[in-house]
Each structure stands twice: as C-alpha cells, then as structure tokens.
C-alpha cells in the first residue's frame, strides 16, 4: 500500500470515526499552489487525524486582512500564514498571540523543537513553515559550458556579463545582495548596512548596474523576463524558477550564491475564535514529517533540521527535491538570512532612499 492510498483510507475512516467533535478552524494563506500544497500535506491528514475540519481562505498577503480583523475586534481567522517581517511587526503591536515553542513536537530524530528549527527562525508569535530564497537565476542555454555566472559578484559585473538584469524593485534583499557582491561576508552584511557608509556602499554597488536594470515587482515576472530573453539574468524567488524548470522544462538555473532567504510561518491572531484547535493544527503541520511532505510539493525548504533528510523526490516525479531547496547544505555556503529586525527599523528610511535612487537618473 503506497502512501497515497493510506492517506485516502485514513481520511475516509477518520471521517467516519470522529464525526466533527471539534469545531472547524479557519486558515488564511496565500492561495494558489501554496495552499494546494498545504491542503495535501496538512489540512487533509490533519482533519483525518483529529476530526477538526479546515476552512481555507485565500489572501494576497494574510497580514493585511488579519490586522484589519484584529483592529475591528471581529476575528474570524484561527491560523494565518505570515511573512516573518509581518509577524514580528504585528506581534510587537500585540495583534498576535505568543506561541510557546516548547509545546511543539520534537523532531523526527528526537531533537527538542526549540533546537530543531534553524537558528533564528523561531520567534515570539510565529512558528516557521518554510524557507524561500531570493536568488539570482539565469538561462543556462544562453551561456557556453562553464561560462555561466557563478557568483553573486557576476550579477554586478556588466563587463564580464553584458546585458540587462532583472532587479527586484525593493531595497530589502537588493541592498544585501549588493553588499555581498561587494565582498561583504554574509554574517557581516547587517552590521555594515546599519552604518551610513554601508548604505552608501550598497547604493554605489547598485549604481554599477543601474543602466542595465529591468525592475520587477511581481514574482511571475522574472521567469517571463528570462523566457523572453529580455534579461541575461535576474533576481527571482527560487520557487518560481524551479516551477519554470520542472513544469515547463525551461533551462533555468538558480545561482546558489549570495541569495537572501526568508521564512514564513503560522501565527494565531489575538482573539482567534478557536485558538486551542489552532494550536493543535500548528503543532501538527510544523512537525518534521508533515514539513518534509510539504517541501516535496513546493520547492520551499523546511525550517526543521530533522525534516531535511526526509524530503524525497519532487512529488509525482523521480527528481530529488532537496538540491532545489534553499536549505540544502550545499546551497547554503554563502547565504544570508534576511533580518526582519533590521528591516522593521529601517524599511521606511531605506525605502525612501531606494525610491529616490530609482528616481534620480
């Protein structure tokens, strides 16, 4: 009996055995392929196991409606999927419930949860669900064997690699990449960026590609830019490039150097109607097994160290998923964890400066 039929059977019997003892919970998430992966890896088995039904709600960014719900004192969401930056912000503002990490299940190898999660990813109000990276990607067919860009510095080297580049239109990630390309080691990036000289240095580096930059905002744009041949390389969310490569057979490669990774995860809004069941769900979904299953369906890394070895092939294929994940050890040699703390403080100022820089031609 394969895993899938087992799942189906438990779902069926579970539904019979435990007729909706608990109330349904409402989970707000990104929708699309993300929610599809959640449904298969979390919602269905969770309902099968506990009898708690899941109502799935989509949002462009769940933080916005959740904040509105809490502000209005009319919370209908039990669990929401937040970016770490939003989670930190709303947590500070008292709009999310603190989550005691010690209640989370141990890792598959028995490591206590608080040690099992990658360092710095656990925070007061959020349990991380996945890690995604913004990295440089390119069309391998456009470069001769061995002549493809191989480091983040190459992205900023317009002599060696002439042509347009796709650049994310946001100071976050872009400034960090500029500094890394300029030779700042990943673990010093935020110290440098915290000084005025560091910011100047990052913008000076950006100046070198300003004339060759095509800016994008929506995640769907970079694969399109690559496919149309508009750019020789582009910053992109790794999952988008992976999709284009696996689903559409495009010869796109992710350059695992100088990428910036961030994580997102589950939060419980203050005043959630079914907070207890919500916590049960989070415990279930962020366990090693479920997390690994999720990573097989979408190319976002699991934040649990113990889950990494459990990640098998890309769901439904025989391509191993692990090398495509931002958390794959070999992909992590020069990677930077985005600092939500830094950006909460500096986003307004650097956002203004970035916009002013864009404006000044």
């Amino acid at each position: 009996m394969n895993k899938k039929t087992l799942l189906a059977l438990t779902t069926a019997f579970g539904g019979l055995a435990l007729p909706a003892l608990a109330e349904d919970i409402t989970i707000m998430s990104w929708g699309g392929s993300y929610a599809a992966a959640e449904t298969e890896s979390y919602y269905k088995p969770f309902t099968a196991e506990t009898g708690i039904g899941v109502v799935s709600v989509d949002a462009d960014n769940p933080a916005t409606p959740v904040k509105a719900q809490v502000d209005a004192g009319n919370v209908t969401t039990d669990v929401a999927l937040f970016l770490i930056s939003d989670a930190m912000r709303l947590c500070d503002e008292g709009q999310l419930m603190p989550i005691d990490a010690s209640l989370l299940p141990d890792g598959a190898d028995g490591t206590p949860a608080e040690e099992d999660f990658l360092e710095g990813t656990l925070s007061e109000c959020m349990v991380p669900n996945d890690i995604y990276a913004t990295a440089v990607a390119y069309d391998a067919s456009k470069f001769a064997e061995g002549a493809a860009p191989s480091s983040i510095a190459d992205f900023f080297d317009t002599e060696k690699f002439p042509g347009k580049r796709g650049v994310l239109k946001s100071p976050k990630v872009v400034l960090e990449m500029a500094l890394m390309a300029d030779g700042v080691p990943a673990d010093e990036v935020y110290d440098v960026l915290d000084t005025d000289e560091g910011v100047d240095r990052a913008f000076a580096k950006l100046d070198t590609i300003k004339g060759d930059a095509i800016y994008w905002e929506a995640g769907a744009q970079p694969p399109q830019l690559l496919a149309d041949g508009e750019v020789v390389m582009t910053m992109s969310y790794n999952g988008r490039i992976f999709n284009a490569a696996v689903n559409e057979g495009k010869p796109f490669e992710v350059l695992w150097d100088g990428q910036v990774y961030e994580w997102e995860g589950y939060v419980i809004p203050e005043g959630a109607p079914n907070a207890e069941a919500a916590m049960e769900y989070i415990k279930y979904a962020t366990s090693s097994e479920q997390s690994a299953s999720f990573s097989e369906r979408i190319s976002y890394g699991t934040p649990r160290k113990s889950a990494a070895p459990l990640v098998g092939n890309v769901f439904g294929t025989d391509i191993p998923m692990a090398p495509n994940l931002p958390t794959y050890p070999e992909n992590m040699t020069n990677a930077l964890a985005s600092s939500a703390e830094f950006w909460v403080d500096r986003e307004t100022e650097l956002g203004e400066r970035f916009n002013a820089w864009l404006l000044a031609n």
Binding site: T64, C91, D92, A218, D345, T348, G351, R353
Partner: protein
C-alpha cells in the same frame, strides 16, 4: 430693484416673496426627498472617507495613547528642555505600560517614522521595562546610547500629542533638526516632493499626447456617418473593455527588447539587432501604456462637443474669407474648448492617480506619486498614506481652481 420686489404684495396682501417661497416649498421638499438617497450615498461613500483621510493625515495616537507620564513631563517642561532623570523615569513607567498592553511596537513605529531606526529601541526597552532600576537615565542609556538623542526626544514630544504635522513634513522632504528647525532632508532621501512634481509633469505629458491624438479622432468620429462612426468608436473604447493585465501583457509583448515592434524595426533594417529600442520598463513604457488607457477619456468629451458644432460655422468662416487653418484656429478650436477642458481635466486627474500600470511597465521611472500612497498603505502607515493622498487631492484642486480662473468651470462639457 430688490427693494421694490420686497415691497410687492399679492392680491391678498402677503408679501410677494413670501408667497413665492411658500408656493415653491412643496416642490422643493419633493425635490429634496428625491435626491436624498444620492445625497446620503455621496456623504457615506465620499465625503466621510475623505474627511477621515484628512483627519488621519494630521491625527495619529499610536504613540500618544501609551505615554501618559511622558506627556505630563512634556507639558511641564517647555520645548528645548534637555531630558532629565524625571523624564527618563516617566519614559520608563510608560514603557512598563507598553509592555503590559504590548503597545511598544506601535509606539516605536510612530517615532520611527520621524527618526529612522528607533522602533527597535522601544521594543527592546519595553521587553525589560519592568526590570529597569533608577537612575533611569543611566539604565536606559545602558540599553541604547541613542536614548538621549535630541532628535528622538523631539520626535517623542511631537508625537505625544495625537495632532501632528509630522507626516506633511515628511511628505515635503523636510525634517526637524536637533533645534526643531525645518531643514531639507539629505539629497539621497528626497523622494516625495520630487515625485509629486514628476507625477504632475508626466501626467501633463500624457494629457498633451492624449489631446493631440484624440482631437483628430474625435473630429473624424463627429463628421463620419453614424454607422462608420460607431464602428470606430468601438475601437476607441476597446481599452475600456480589456482587463488591465491583458492590456499590460500585450504592451510588454509589443514593446519589449525582443518584442514585436523591435523585431519589425530590425527586420526592416531601421535599427540594428544590437540597437533595439528600450520602449518598456521605463518612462516611455509608462507614457505609451497610460496614453492608451486614458485616450477614450479624451475622445469622448471632445466627440460629444464636436458632434454638435454645426458645419455651418466653418462654412460661414470660409465664405468670409478665412483659410482652412484660420477657420480651425479661430472658429473651430475655440468652440471645442469645453470638450478640451473636460478631457484634459479628466485625463490629467486620472493620470495623476494611476499606479498599477506604471508599476508594471514603468521600471525604475515607473513610480508615480500614488505608488507611494500604496506603499505606505501596505505598510499600514495610514497617516503617511493619508498625508500623501491629501497632497494629491490638493494638487488636483489647485489645478481645478486654475482651470476655473483661466477657462471657467461652467465651460466644461463632459458628455
């Protein structure tokens, strides 16, 4: 004249004015009840939100609601007083309160708007606030040496009152220095006011192009037989009926470096393969796409005005000896001014407020002022978004006023 009228009476001796008023009162009441639903709708959907927006741009209690002690200290000590131990004690007690109500992030955010990098000072300090011991000044400085930064204290003093002009200060690319004097922000940080000017300039260019393109189209529509005119009208209105994304995607397909237009130009040998024109992801792209979208708003009012200009005016002018150019300039053009005015105002106001199209096809140049409004809205900085939106509103109202002065608003014909 009015004296005489007020003395006139009806046959039964009632003053004429009073009689007229009572005779019309019923009709007026009926008319009022008929428009009442619309009035309420406008009030609820328009006047109230705009009022709220205006209020939000000058009212923000994110900080003030959490700092009772500090507010009192500010009230007792005049502006310019250096913070003393009492001030830090007040701050410490407010931080304890913030920890309890988990309001430190909110309060810090408010100060962070004015002095960058201060939000974490509040969240960190609040976390350990209940363990702070006197002397508070030292203890706080221990936590972060920036706690005696006069900029922070000035910002706190200002934010201790919910009523504030801080957001307008920022919107005009200004800041207060340690002495509280307004100065321009650093060159590299100047964005809002410059973008404001740029937005109005781009909107002006778009409006001008729309006018130049729409005038002959509208004239053609107005003079063509009805059946042909209707067909052409459908072409003009097509952008209305196309979804934004489809439209944008088509522009990208057409205009990008490897796009159709460039391919054709290369194939015709007009440009070299390495000299492909950059027509999208820059200002050109923004202008092309926005002209396309806004053109109908120029064509329609022009058309509705031109359609009712009798051909006999131009014929009369010609018979009086005017060349066709003079006829156009002195007879036809002046009569289309109500349509030009309406179209220009409409297109300009819409262009000033656009943000999706520029964001998608504009590249680095593609930001307009509204993108900043949207930026702050996604960051939940309502006050800043409101201040910027108010600037936009005022800018448009000023233009409207100018229009009224120069041309006269009564000469506006929208359709």
């Amino acid at each position: 004249m009015s004296d005489v009228a007020s003395q006139l009476t009806t046959a039964d001796g009632r003053p004429l004015k009073a009689a007229l008023a009572s005779a019309q009162a019923r009709a007026k009441r009926r008319a009022f009840f008929l428009v009442l639903p619309l009035l309420l709708f406008i009030l609820i959907s328009f006047a109230v939100p705009i009022g709220q927006m205006l209020q939000r741009s000058v009212y923000n209690d994110q900080f003030s609601k959490s700092v009772p002690a500090l507010s009192q200290w500010f009230a007792e000590n005049p502006k310019g007083t250096a913070p003393d131990e009492a001030a830090f004690a007040a701050l410490a007690s407010d931080l304890v309160l913030m920890k309890e109500t988990r309001a430190a992030g909110d309060a810090g955010t408010r100060i962070n708007y004015v002095v960058s990098g201060t939000r974490s000072m509040f969240t960190k300090a609040a976390r350990g606030a209940d363990k702070l011991e006197p002397p508070f000044m030292e203890a706080m400085l221990e936590l972060d040496e920036d706690w005696d930064n006069p900029l922070v204290w000035n910002a706190m003093r200002s934010a201790a009152s919910p009523w504030t002009f801080d957001f307008y200060t920022i919107a005009f690319d200004l800041e207060r220095d340690a002495d509280g004097k307004l100065t321009k922000v650093d060159e590299t940080q100047r964005i809002y006011f410059r973008l404001f000017i740029k937005t109005f300039l781009i909107a002006g260019v778009i409006t001008a192009i729309c006018l130049v393109l729409a005038f002959p189209i509208a004239h053609l529509l107005a003079t063509l037989p009805m059946a042909k005119a209707n067909l052409l009208m459908i072409l003009v209105l097509l952008p209305f009926w196309t979804s934004l994304l489809v439209r944008t995607t088509s522009w990208i397909v057409l205009l990008q470096g490897q796009g159709v237009v460039n391919d054709i130009l290369v194939a015709l040998g007009i440009i070299g393969d390495d000299g492909r024109l950059q027509m999208i992801y820059n200002q050109t792209g923004t202008i092309i796409a926005m002209v396309h979208i806004l053109l109908p708003f120029m064509v329609l009012p022009l058309y509705s005005v031109m359609r009712v200009i009798p051909v006999s005016y131009t014929r009369a002018a010609r018979s009086l000896g005017a060349t066709s150019w003079t006829t156009f300039r002195r007879i036809y053009l002046p009569q289309t001014i109500p349509g030009i005015g309406a179209g220009v105002l409409l297109v300009f106001i819409l262009a000033v407020g656009y943000y999706i199209t520029p964001a998608l096809v504009g590249g680095a140049d593609g930001q307009l002022f509204s993108n900043m409004v949207q930026f702050h809205m996604t960051k939940a900085n309502w006050s800043m978004a409101a201040a910027l939106a108010t600037m936009l509103l005022v800018g448009v109202l000023v233009l409207y006023w100018l229009y009224d002065r120069l041309i006269g608003i009564d000469k506006l014909k929208l359709g």
